[in-house]
């Protein structure tokens, strides 16, 4: 899932201050933490209170839709949400949401409420979201025991670990696991340590031509 953090309220307020009637729209897709209706409502309340501090009054409409990255679903849902009064849209989706809406409504200003930070997994027991995929276009998980060294190693090493691996932790941030220590531990459990003897060649960074495009 795509992990986002809420932008500073000041930044959002700066975006929307020129307008009064604003649609705040959540996304029930893969955004984590969930950026659905509850989050959209809470944001509208915070912005209203923040507006008051600036002597600015807003009229928010708050809603959510299934997947803002899907132009068809978003178009259908927004038809009911956007009327002539709406002057701007504030999207709680990842970076895809504002872009979808911008294409659908070329006349309407669209602002992001989120910073999109990484593709990650939710560890509910620990209450964390952790980066686990770099969308590199050339997946190596088959060789590394299902643990991604590209996203989880600070140096994205393919033939790790480096000398900075200490007691299973990374020298860059001792609070984080060394991905290569995890890989070795896992392959050992699987009886596949010998897989690591083959040296991996440098990664092909052109595995997918950027910007990526796939025709269905």
């Amino acid at each position: 899932m795509i992990v986002t953090t809420l932008k500073p309220l000041d930044e959002i307020l700066n975006f929307i201050s020129p307008y009064k009637n604003i649609l705040i729209v959540g996304c029930d897709g893969c955004t984590q933490p969930p950026r659905g209706i509850r989050e959209a409502e809470a944001l509208s309340q915070l912005l209203e209170l923040g507006g008051k501090q600036r002597n600015k009054e807003f009229a928010f409409k708050v809603n959510t839709l299934v997947k803002q990255c899907d132009s068809y679903l978003t178009a259908v849902a927004l038809t009911d949400m956007i009327d002539d009064d709406v002057e701007a849209v504030l999207s709680l989706a990842c970076g895809l949401g504002p872009q979808t809406i911008a294409i659908l409504y070329p006349e309407l200003p669209v602002f992001p409420a989120q910073n999109t930070v990484f593709i990650g997994s939710e560890e509910r027991e620990a209450g964390t979201l952790e980066e686990r995929c770099a969308a590199c276009g050339d997946c190596v998980l088959g060789l590394t025991g299902g643990i991604c060294p590209i996203s989880r190693c600070a140096k994205s090493l393919l033939n790790g670990p480096c000398g900075g691996s200490q007691n299973g932790k990374c020298e860059v941030d001792p609070n984080k696991d060394c991905a290569w220590a995890l890989i070795i531990e896992r392959l050992d459990k699987l009886g596949r340590l010998q897989d690591l003897e083959a040296i991996q060649p440098p990664k092909d960074h052109q595995a997918i031509a950027r910007p990526g495009k796939i025709t269905l």
């Binding site: 309220l9 000041d10 029930d28 969930p34 209706i37 809470a42 309340q45 915070l46 209170l49 923040g50």
Partner: protein
Amino acid sequence: MASQEGLTLVEELEEVVDEASGKICLPPCQIACPLGEDIQRNNGMIALLPLDPEEASRQIIEIGDEIYEKNPLFPVCSYICGLCEQECNYKDQTGAVRRRLLLRFLIEHYLPYLKNKSPIAAPTKEKVALIGGGPGGLMCAYTLSKKGYQATILEKSSELGGALSYIPKYRLPIDVMDTTLNNLVRIAHIEVNFGVEMGDGGKTLDDLRKEGYRAVFIATGTPSPRPLTFERELVAGADLEGLIFGLNLLYDANQGEVAPNLFQGMRVIVVGGGNVAFDVARTARRLGGDVSLVCLESDDKSSKDGIPADVEEIEGATEEGIRITYSRGVSKIVGENGKFKKIECPRCTSVFDESGFNPQFDKSDVIYLEGDVLLITIGQGPEGAFLQQEGLLDERGRINIDQLTLMSNLKEGIFIGGDVRRVGFAAEAMRDGVTAAESIDRYLKGEDLRAGREKEYMGAPIPKRAHYKPQPELAWLPVEERLNFEPFEKGFTTEEAVGEARRCLCCGPCRSCKACITLGIQPGPPSIEVDEDLCIRCGNCAFYCPYEAVKLESPGVASIDLASCKGCGMCVARCPAMAITLENWERERISDLISKLSAQIKRPSILVFRCKWAVLPPLDGEFTQNIRAIELPCAARVDSLHILEAFQKGVDGVLIAVCPDEDCKREGGSREAQRLVVALKESLSQIGLQDRLHLCTIAPRHPEAVDNELEEFKKRITDICAAEAA
């Protein structure tokens, strides 16, 4: 709400049937209690006793009255029973909730009241005779009386209590027993005839019939001590001086018929490993004896041959200097000049086998224990002659009854129960009394005795918690102060009782408890709905539910089992789609309340969200002008949307008052509120409102802490408003 008129049960308790098994779901303690006391409910109400001592005392009496309905002997149980604690889900965590001591806390207030408790309506229906005035007979008489029958107890001795009269006073104070039994007889209009012999030289069942009794319950107990045997033969020496049946000693000691130093300077040997043997040993110790105890069983209580006495008894006796010799039988009693001298004790290699009690010995390993007195306490049996004469035994000498209804298979209208049927705990005999009363009622009405009476129960599982609170230690007087016949176990203070009752996790279903409803915390049993159209299948509700009440059904829609749900609102708080509604605590309802209250409060205005389990005092006095409170069913229902809404509606400050995490009655409710407030404060800090929101944790029942928090917060908000105006 707990009104001035007192607690009233607004709805009947319901049976919650587990759909998969068809069994009735209850907390395990209640299943373990032979009388089915509503233990969880009682705990819930004790946990929320009001702060005002007089009001608390009044509520305690109401809780006592509820228990009395099911078990008028509960003051006695509060000293001698603990069957529920054996099954408490907490037992395997940090130790059972101490129900026995909680009951004892209640009776401190309840016993004085019991003396003036009004009698029930005078019975008018048929006469029923109860033979034996022990727990079984008394309980049957009470239950019959409530159903309108005239109950007469025919007791052989000159007092009521049966086997209870053998319990040493240091375990069951005489005034507790007397007050309980005498008032029961008064309240339930039970007629008691003492000195009534049945059988040889006394009355027959036919006589009773002629006297107009339409049914009879025989609960004559097991008054005959069992003599010592070895390999199925009686051990000779019963006529030696110094050889006493332990039961007789207990009875005499309770009657005050023994000298306080009866065993001074004597070596006393007690034979037996049950609780009664320990009563005898500890009584002998209190009469000055140098006491040792020998038993067949081993010291490993978990093994099949483990000693049956309770751990507390063994510990207490050991502390008092009683030596225990495990795994030894008695093969010979040796006397000298007509006096007891010693016993021969071969090692017992096995007590029970597939056939049951069948002790095996290694006769090559023998020790001798010398003493001046030998107290035999290896069990007791019924006096069988009367049952035999009345033709109530089968050809093998066993009582022939229907075990479900307790009616004799050989004579209609004759019911048999209590220890005479099967030796057990007092409460089990009492259950027989209740069972027999129900049967007698049906019998006299000509109804089917068996219909609908076979019920199966399943114990509710323990709710998961991050931490289980430790069990309070038993407080006993030190040995040097307790070698007398005064009770030595310290009871709970109000504070301790409330703390222990709060420890109860309320494992059972809400609908069979309803304490929260009686107390006004909830208007009804929890009702939660998931709107499937809004649900985004995230699974938060299932993951965060502390009661495992939410299941994710493929392809991810949540379904909530209302039998397990406790209505805390955790799932509501964690649902990003706002798809879950907790009845009575809906978002709109709380929003309306916020609108209403925010319009009432004078500035600087403060709105308090607080958990009803926090037992905080009502807002009054100087605070009423500026402060209003919204009470929630659990801190988990604190909602950032409501906090923000209060600010939007012009409230100057919002205070969240919850219990500290360790005191949270529901799992994680307080933690959840704290997490939410930290996150919200971070957002509010970006628009300069962070100081207007404050969360405080207040240990339940500490009103002074609430006042301090309110005082300080009000000052803070006043300052903020002043600065704003400037």
